[in-house]
């Protein structure tokens, strides 16, 4: 004790310094794009429904399916990356968006998904999808529903129909269908990506993602 008392500033400083480094060390292990962990199935039934939300090639060699949540920041981080990928491989890549609203932690996620489905009933799913991700930081903190209505107006939806649809069963059921599929396959985080039915670890950058898809396209081309 007397040593500590004599050198109280030195000991205090040393403890703080070590503590700071340990805390920083732990933090640096967190990846900026969290990869899904746990028991999500490695391969899933890759039957694509006619009403799945598709983007990109009509007759793709490679299909990328994302289970996503409009309120999840990591999903918003991947959203521009996906947009670029679809542009990069216009003839070979198809992107499919499926809902997996983590409503236990993101209180507006399901409402956002329902809003996108209401827009889908007027053929504007992707416009709403873009509006929701573009403005995620703005509607995230607020009550959401009002903001979703604004976006619906901005993208030019018939608002009478939107108001009617948003309270009807069909958009909700559609969201729940995707959600149920995700739950049945053990998914537990967003975004989770499947490439041609196989789960992939979330790539850490656009380049890594692009290379992964290019490889898969090459594989598909070789087996033709």
């Amino acid at each position: 004790m007397s040593f500590i008392r004599k050198n109280i500033w030195g000991v205090g400083f040393a403890v703080l310094l070590v503590g700071a480094f340990v805390a920083m060390g732990f933090a640096s292990k967190n990846s900026s794009l969290p990869s899904p962990t746990g028991i999500a199935k490695d391969t899933i039934d890759f039957t694509i429904a006619s009403d799945d939300h598709k983007k990109g090639a009509e007759n793709p060699k490679v299909t990328l399916m994302e289970f996503s949540d409009f309120q999840c920041p990591a999903c918003a981080a991947y959203y521009p990356i996906i947009g670029e990928l679809v542009k990069e491989f216009p003839n070979d890549l198809q992107f499919i968006y499926r809902h997996f609203p983590l409503k236990a932690i993101h209180f507006q996620a399901e409402n956002a998904a329902i809003a996108s489905e209401a827009a889908n009933l007027q053929g504007k799913f992707w416009e709403m999808h873009d509006a929701l991700f573009d403005n995620q930081s703005k509607w995230n903190p607020t009550t959401g529903k009002g903001a979703f209505r604004e976006y619906a107006e901005l993208i030019g939806l018939d608002m009478n129909k939107y108001d009617e649809d948003i309270n009807s069963d069909s958009p909700r059921d559609r969201v729940r269908r995707d959600n149920q599929f995700a739950v049945d396959n053990g998914l537990n985080s967003t975004p989770t990506f499947y490439l041609n039915g196989n789960k992939i670890a979330n790539p850490g950058s656009y380049e890594a993602f692009r290379d992964l898809i290019a490889q898969e396209i090459e594989k598909a081309t070789n087996t033709e």
Binding site: L16, G19, S32, Q71, P73, L102, H106, F107, S137, P141
Partner: protein
């Protein structure tokens, strides 16, 4: 003036240290643009990437780390020099951390609708520091029982 008991001295150090580690961890996450894995609660991503995570571009986590550093330094100074003024000032200083924590928890509950466990830990440590500071001041004000003096004539 009564001396501050050892348990209280150590409690203030430990609590401040936990707060400091927590805030340093969150600050590092902020600058690495990383998302801390949440425990118990589940909204760390929403909270730490929200527009409320910074004040004028300065991450709140960094302000928190500096705040805990100041409290710890002040407490070291007290233990070293036994300056009574520290005990007078500490409740005022820690009350600012306490009030700020209430505001941040309020934001999480009422505005963001998401809770971040690390932020709640910090709210807990800053509340405890405020309580400890009040206790320390109270103890220091208690006077030692005056020894019986027999006036001999």
């Amino acid at each position: 003036m009564k001396p501050i008991p050892l348990w209280l001295t150590i409690s203030i150090f430990v609590t401040g240290f936990i707060g400091f580690l927590d805030a340093t961890y969150l600050t590092t996450n902020f600058f690495l643009k990383a998302i801390p894995p949440c425990f118990v609660t589940g909204g760390c991503d929403v909270v730490t990437t929200s527009q409320y995570a910074t004040i004028l571009g300065i991450p709140i986590a960094l302000l928190g780390a500096l705040y805990y550093l100041c409290v710890l330094a002040l407490w070291l100074f007290y233990v070293d020099k036994k300056q009574k003024r520290v005990l007078e000032a500490l409740p005022w200083i820690t009350s600012s951390g306490f009030v700020f924590s209430i505001w941040l928890v309020g934001l999480q509950v009422f505005v963001l609708n998401a809770l971040c466990s690390y932020c709640l830990v910090s709210a807990g440590t800053s509340t405890l520091l405020f309580i400890f500071a009040l206790i320390a001041r109270k103890i220091s004000k208690e006077t030692l029982p005056t020894p019986n003096r027999t006036i001999s004539q």
